[in-house]
Symmetry: C2
Subunit: 222 residues, 2 copies
């Protein structure tokens, strides 16, 4: 975890007290244990605004809700639209966290939301706040982090956000159908990922049409 402070010298990265860093890891571990004790499989879905996080979650919930009790926590700076989009897809419970101005979720915020979760859920999707910078350094204690990027984010999206993509367990490249219209060659981010994270799996999707969702579910063993 990295902490930035704004002083009269501008924004600077400050030394992290190791106790705080250890405490963040403890908070993530507390969530991990919470999930383990309840047999709940939790996933952090991160990415920029418009990448397709909510769409991915809505698609996964729709496919899973027949045989699973699925919960969703949606994080946003403001509004409850993302929660509303997922409601009606069969999720057992949907909670929205509004962070105010904070640009990421953290283990403590998630833990607070977990206190409001119903018993008996077996899958939980947590939608992180929409950007490819801040969430990188905050572990939520989940089984896997999926980072979603869309073709609209350009050919260099991977290299521009190294910390975020280094923190990913699976990458979803969405809106493949508009790649040509926005003049983006998706082979470039895929190649960049193979350099940055050899072996990391990438799924190309077109979530508006539901394409690629089954492959994401298979990768996550869902």
């Amino acid at each position: 975890m990295r902490l930035f402070e704004t002083t009269d010298q501008g924004s600077i990265e400050i030394e992290i007290d190791e106790d705080i860093q250890a405490r963040q890891e403890e908070l993530a571990e507390r969530n991990r244990q919470w999930f383990r004790e309840r047999g709940l499989r939790a996933f952090d879905i991160a990415g920029s605004v418009g990448a397709g996080k909510t769409s991915l979650i809505a698609n996964m919930v729709e496919r899973l809700s027949g045989k699973h009790a699925v919960g969703v926590i949606a994080g946003d700076v403001a509004t409850t639209y993302d929660a509303e989009r997922v409601t009606g897809k069969g999720a057992r419970q949907v909670l929205q966290i509004n962070t105010g101005g904070i640009c990421h979720l953290d283990a403590k915020l998630v833990h607070t939301a977990l206190q409001k979760m119903q018993l008996g859920l077996d899958i939980l999707f947590i939608e992180n706040v929409g950007n490819l910078i801040c969430p990188a350094h905050f572990s939520l204690g989940v089984e896997a982090r999926v980072v979603v990027a869309s073709a609209s984010e350009g050919s260099h999206v991977i290299e521009k956000h190294p910390a975020m993509f280094k923190s990913a367990d699976l990458v979803v490249l969405n809106k493949t159908d508009i790649a040509e219209a926005v003049n983006v060659d998706l082979e470039r981010p895929i190649a960049d990922l193979q350099v940055m994270r050899p072996g990391l799996q990438v799924v190309k999707t077109n979530l508006l049409a539901g394409e690629g969702v089954d492959q994401v579910l298979a990768m996550l063993k869902l």
Copy 2:
């Protein structure tokens, strides 16, 4: 300006020392004076990754460089691609700021870059770091902030990022050509802006084709 700190209680907004807030404003004012003394008109171009910030700047530089000495400062977490995209469009000087993990530019970072600028420039475009959250609260001391959003960011992009759009002097809605393909009705963000910021001007663009650039320049009186 708002400052967030991560402690063992998670991320929280902390009380701002008024001296620090005043100091940020002083740093912005120092830039403002720097620009004024040199007859340099400076603009902050903010927006999410892939919104079209670099594309807007490249288009504006191309149109202006015949009769103006244009400079560009490009801010990114990592890489120099944005600076490279603008080079060759006729800009007199292009500087790249890599912030490391910091999710916004601030007046001090810009001031440091200004020390490296050539004399004799009369227009400066500053590309902020790509997201719609962090830059909102940091004034760079420029003449106007342009916030660029693309159709790919969804129908609710304005309401989800109130602080950012409240800080805008002009909003550019880009990638209008793919709005239908990504199932977004652009009248929604435009209506939201009129509620949030009555009278704020909005320009619809398709920057890949150069459409709308002249209108942006006219709005900025360039």
